[in-house]
Every structure is written in structure tokens, then in C-alpha cells.
Amino acid sequence: MKKFFFSFFVAICALNLSAQTDYKASVFGCMSDGITLNTQSIQTAINIISSRGGGMLHFYVGRYLTGTIFLKNNVTIVLHEGATLVGVPSAYDYAGLPGVPKGLIVAHGQSNIGVVGSTPEYQTNMDVIGNGIIEGQGKSVRKSIETQIAKGYLNETIEQASPALISFSECTGVKVTGLMLREAAGDVVTYNDCKNVETAGLLIESKDIAGSNGLVFSKCTGLNVTNNFFNVSGKPIKSSANSKEVKSSDNRTFAGSLSKITK
């Protein structure tokens, strides 16, 4: 356990060291009006920041409509108070990657990535939740998917077509903290085969779609799940048995505290 905390500490330091360049989303043409589809602007921002060695992409107050964006090495998305990433209610604006389920924010094989709220206090204050929001518009997205499947235009199952809010696979050094995650069309956060993952200070609320699980993970090593509040239609936390070095504490639902997961 001590060894794990040490390696976790090292990972956090590495995160902080390399992610120092700050970029405002507007530099790349992102619009906060809630109607401009920002997918390619955000993607371009991520590509450029990553190619320059990494940094923080800051979103300030406003609603930023987007489809799937792919997070790349050493890039952290920061959602400041009042900033909302809004999932576009259109089945064909979501993608996954081979072996990676669809998501609003997708990463595969990337290291040192994050999606964070601007508030750092969650580590010391149990009651603080994130300021930034990811709003999945799950009901509308799901409606679009169901319509397209019914018409025969979309040759996928509802489950395949429904994006999570965050879908990371084979990533190392992941931070998803201090955010409000709302209404996914599928599960909210999914990790597969990731290492050194911090998931903390999240308010996860996803009830519009039946069976929306809060946090789903498998084959992960070094997972810290702390101080999250779950209000979901599916399971708050769903894990397969093959993860290692999982620490969970202070996770709650309306029904009360969740029991600790220790592996």
C-alpha cells in the first residue's frame, strides 16, 4: 500500500511538472454560445497542445457544444466554474476507437491526461464538488440513436452507439477530478486497462437513461476513487475483478456511503 501511494505521488508530480502551459479555448476558436458545434476546434486545440509537449486547455464560463474529442498525451482539459461541455444530441457525432467504447471524451494509449474542474480543494474538503460540468444530454442522444437504429440507418446496438462521458483505454497517468458529470447516454466514466488513475471530487448524476453506471473499470492498476457522489440509474461503481491497487474512500450516494473497495 505504501509503495502504491509513493508511485501515485510520483505520478501526480509528473502531471504537475509537464502540464504547465496554459491555453484558453477561445484561442482555437471554441465558442461558448451553446449552439456552435466545437468538436473540431477542441480537437485541434488538443492536437496542437499535445504536439507542443502538453499543457492545460482552459474552458471558462459558457456552454461548449461538442461531439467526440480524443484526448492526447500530456493534455488536461480544465473546466472552470460555469463552464459546461455539452454533448451534441446526434448519434453520428460520437465515435470510439477499435476496442474502445464510444465516449464524449475518448483516449486510447495516451499518458498524463486529465479532465478537471478548477477547484483544487476537493482533496481537503469533503463537501466540495467540481465547478466544471460535462452535460451528456443522454436522453436526447439516446433518442437520436434509437431513431436511427429504428430507421435501419445505424447498424449498431443501442449499447454500442451510446457514448459514455469519459472513455479511456490503455492510458497511464489519468486525472478526472473536481467535476460535475451529468446525464450520459451510456455509462458515465469508463476505464479499461489504465494505470495510475485518480477519480476524485466528482458529482456524478445520470438518471435519465436506465442502467447508466457511474464508474466502470476493468483491468486497471493503481486506481484512486475518492470523495465522489453518485446519483445514477445504474450501479455507482461497477468493476470487473481483474483490477489491482484500487483505493476507494468517501464515496457516497443518497442511500449513504458506499463500502470501500480494496483490492
Partner: protein, 496 residues
């Protein structure tokens, strides 16, 4: 030539019948939103993929304004844009991709697809002015790598409306194409292309051509209208191993702040077997028709029958240059131009249009039509028949003068490597037609008319071997007895 055209017409009829039997799909059924705001690229792409997989059909856009970035048309799919519907280009440069095979950006791509088309009386509007200027901002911020040569992003870094490459059986009918950020529509190495009854309004940013046909085989462009900042109807040859051939242009009208109809500038492989009939060019800054063989390719077997060139800065410019020839020898021969009426104005012909042509190559008086080869790369066998060219005259010797002495004529530069434009040589010594380094030039029933006096003769030939003038007449006020044809270092000149 006639056989070629018959084959073309049969092919085109086949193309049209194929497209009539197609099944229709409403783009809104796939979730597209015609609100002028939502970016529909992914939805349109999915719809095209679906129709392609389902055996083909028309993707129909009903009235509404559908914003989109790049997408790819696939085999057996026609985009049908109904009257009242607009495909509106996103103004976000990041919404467009540069195709890795093509090396250009575009809204509508098709690469290696067959039996495709765009039809309907709707509009494709690239909103290129805004998109291009947005791109400039990103380049200036250092977010996109571009040298900003001439303070504009490279043509390949601005989206066209249409770029089709290596496609067979393409039909473009009835649509209005507006305001791209770069060239408007490119058909590159396509076979069997029909463009019929389209309306092009393309003057929103630099390099806004009307239509670019690059290294295509079997092309009909007819009944169409082009109002453009750059060349209106443009044939190009990008590939030294390819050629642009078997082309008919009929009943088209062009307006341009560059050239009306142009062969080149990129002319690596070449152009052959063209028939251009009933062409009208007006308010055009440069030449009604430019033939530029400057990159090693050939231009041959071209017939222009019926050209009306009104308020256009230059009537004809035939040029061999040696720009990017890389070992090949450019050639320009067997061109017949007949039934032409042309009026060249004294004032700037494109004044008042967006992106007016640049005032350059001064000082010069009104430039003549010209046929200008190189000493060892000669333009051959050009026939000019039933032509009337009206010039303003009014040349001012205090402003610019090139007289007829050997010293003055020899001082006209060859400009072998230069970009070809009718004005490149600055002042030329003729007011109607200047011919240099050319063989077998034939004039039949040609009238040169100057509205006011000009210090120059109508026609100057320098290093011409073989020319005939039959029924050629000249009209210039107060110029009785003036020798209107001047020969220099020329032989075999037959004046009847």
C-alpha cells in the same frame, strides 16, 4: 473530333439515365438540421456511407440551410439540393480536412468513386471570405503552419467547395456554387464529367476560380454561368504523365478578374482535343482566352468557334514559356479560333467587382492580342477566322512607347521563366496583334478596328515563319496609308 463528341454525348445520356433510377433519401431522416447553425458533417457522411452501402441513391436536401465541413461523396450517390436548400460551409477552418491523397482542403470530396453527382437548384455556399480570414488569424497566432505568402493562406490550406479526384461518371447539374475560400470546384483526373446548367458566383477571396478541370478525359461543360474573382473556366494539367483531353465547352458565359477561359497555368502534361463553342466573356480583367504552355506540356487540336468578348481587357493570349518544364519541351499547335467578336475597353473592365484584378505591368498602353513563343519553342499552325476585334486606340507615347526599330523590338524580353499573362511584356509595339517566334499563322476575314488613333501598327510579327492574311481589314481614324502590318525577321508572309 466529331466522333469524340458523339461518344461524349452518348456517355452523358447514359450518365443521366443511371441517375434517374436512384432511390431518394431525405437527409433530415439521418438527423440533419437545416437551421443554419448546426454542423452536419458527420450526419451527412453517415448518410452517404449508408446510401453507398445500400446500393446507391440520392441524398436529398429539402429547403433549409445545412451547415457542414468536409465530407466524402461515395460511389453511386448523388447529392440533390432542392431549390430553397443550401449547403452552407462552416466558417470554422478546423471543420475542413486536407485530403492526404489530394493535398487540398474541400467541403465535398470524392476520391476514386464512380457514378456520383451533385444536382438540384439549391445552393452550395462556402462562405469562403470568413473561413479564409479565420484561417489567417490562426496562422498569425502560430496555430497553423503557413508562410502567408502574399499575406494569404496557401490555396491548399483553404477549402474549395468541391474536389473530385480520380472519379468516373460525374454529373454536376443545376446547382449554384458560391463563395469558396480557394478554387471553387476541381475535377482532377476524372473520366466522363458532365457539368450542365450551373451558376457560379465565386469572388469572395483570392484564387476563387469558377471551375478547374485538371487532367480529365471526356468532359462536357455547357449552359453554365461563371462570375469569378480568378479564372472563370480553367483547364489545368498538374501531372506531367497525364493530360486533359476530349473536352466540349458549349453555351457558357464567364466574368472574371483574371481570365475568361484558360489553359494552364499548370500545364505539365497538356491539353488536346477541345471544342469551345458559343462562349461569352464580359467585364473580364485579363484575357478572354489564355493558352499557356509553360510547364512542358502540349496544347493541340483546339477549336474555338463562337466567342463574344465584351469589355474584356485582352482578347487572346497564346504563350509558350519554360517555367517548370523539367526536361520536357512545351508545344502549342493546331488551334483554330473563329467567329469571334471582341471589344477591348480603355478603362478597367472589372472595376467595382470584389477582388478586382491587380493593376500591374505598367507602364503600358492597351495590350494587343498576342501569340508569343520562345526562339526555340515555337507556336505553330494557328488559324484566326471571321474575327472582329475592336480596340480603344488612344495610346500615349509619353506614357509608354515601343517603336519598330530593331533596337526596340529586340529589347522586348523573352521572359521564358515568368508567370504568363497578356500584360507581362509591358508595352508591346502593336495595337491589335503581336506575334513572335511562331510558324504558320493564318488570318482569314479578320477585322481590326481602333476607335481612336494609335501610334502603333495593328499587327507586328517578329520572327514569324509563314503567315497568311486573307480578307484582313483595318480601321483606325486618321490613319490613311498607315502600314498596319509590320514584319520583322519574318519570312513567308503572304498578304492578300
Amino acid at each position: 473530333m466529331t466522333n469524340m463528341i458523339k461518344i461524349l454525348i452518348v456517355n452523358m445520356i447514359l450518365l443521366i439515365t443511371q441517375q434517374l433510377s436512384a432511390k431518394d433519401y431525405d437527409v433530415r431522416d439521418f438527423g440533419a438540421v437545416g437551421d443554419g447553425i448546426f454542423v452536419n458533417s458527420n450526419i451527412i457522411q453517415h448518410a452517404i456511407d449508408y446510401i453507398n452501402a445500400a446500393g446507391g441513391g440520392r441524398l436529398v436536401f429539402y429547403p433549409g440551410t445545412y451547415v457542414t465541413g468536409s465530407f466524402y461523396l461515395k460511389s453511386n450517390v448523388t447529392l440533390h439540393i432542392e431549390q430553397g436548400a443550401t449547403l452552407l460551409g462552416s466558417t470554422n477552418p478546423w471543420d475542413y480536412v486536407k485530403d492526404p491523397h489530394v493535398g487540398w482542403k474541400s467541403m465535398i470530396f470524392a476520391v476514386k468513386q464512380d457514378n456520383i453527382g451533385i444536382s438540384g437548384k439549391g445552393i452550395i455556399n462556402g462562405r469562403g471570405f470568413t473561413t479564409a480570414n479565420n484561417m489567417v488569424k490562426y496562422i498569425q497566432k502560430g496555430l497553423f503552419d503557413d508562410p502567408l505568402k502574399l499575406d494569404r493562406p496557401n490555396e491548399t490550406n483553404r477549402p474549395e467547395n468541391i474536389y473530385f479526384r480520380e472519379c468516373n461518371n460525374v454529373v454536376i447539374r443545376d446547382i449554384t456554387l458560391k463563395d469558396p475560400a480557394s478554387w471553387n470546384q476541381t475535377y482532377d483526373q476524372c473520366k466522363n464529367l458532365l457539368v450542365d446548367n450551373i451558376f457560379v458566383d465565386s469572388k469572395s477571396y483570392w484564387n476563387n476560380d469558377g471551375i478547374d478541370v485538371v487532367d480529365c478525359d471526356g468532359v462536357v461543360i455547357k449552359n453554365s454561368y461563371f462570375d469569378t474573382a480568378d479564372d472563370a473556366i480553367c483547364f489545368k494539367s498538374h501531372d506531367a504523365n497525364a493530360i486533359c483531353q476530349n473536352v466540349v465547352v458549349d453555351n457558357c458565359t464567364g466574368r472574371s478578374s483574371a481570365n475568361g477561359l484558360k489553359f494552364g497555368t499548370a500545364s505539365r502534361g497538356g491539353f488536346r482535343n477541345f471544342k469551345i463553342t458559343n462562349l461569352t466573356i464580359y467585364d473580364t480583367f485579363r484575357s478572354a482566352i489564355t493558352f499557356a504552355a509553360v510547364d512542358g506540356g502540349l496544347i493541340e487540336n483546339i477549336v474555338v468557334d463562337g466567342l463574344r468578348s465584351v469589355n474584356t481587357g485582352n482578347v487572346l493570349f497564346l504563350r509558350i514559356g519554360n517555367r517548370w518544364s523539367s526536361g520536357k519541351t512545351p508545344s502549342l499547335q493546331n488551334v483554330t479560333i473563329k467567329n469571334v467578336y471582341a471589344e477591348v475597353p480603355y478603362a478597367k473592365p472589372d472595376a467595382g467587382y470584389n477582388y478586382e484584378g491587380p493593376v500591374e505591368d505598367n507602364p503600358r498602353n492597351i495590350s494587343p492580342a498576342s501569340i508569343i513563343g520562345l526562339p526555340n519553342m515555337r507556336i505553330k499552325n494557328i488559324t484566326l477566322e471571321n474575327i472582329e476585334m475592336v480596340y480603344p486606340g488612344r495610346s500615349d507615347t509619353l506614357y509608354a512607347k515601343v517603336g519598330l526599330t530593331s533596337k526596340e523590338l529586340d529589347a522586348i524580353p523573352e521572359m521564358e521563366k515568368s508567370y504568363p499573362e497578356f500584360s507581362q511584356f509591358k508595352e508591346l509595339p502593336a495595337w491589335g496583334m503581336y506575334i513572335r517566334h511562331a510558324d504558320d499563322i493564318h488570318f482569314k476575314n479578320v477585322t481590326f478596328r481602333a476607335l481612336e488613333q494609335d501610334y502603333r501598327p495593328a499587327v507586328v510579327m517578329d520572327d514569324v515563319k509563314g503567315a497568311s492574311f486573307r480578307g484582313v481589314s483595318f480601321s483606325e481614324p486618321n490613319a490613311q496609308g498607315k502600314n498596319q502590318i509590320f514584319k520583322y525577321k519574318s519570312s513567308g508572309i503572304n498578304i492578300e
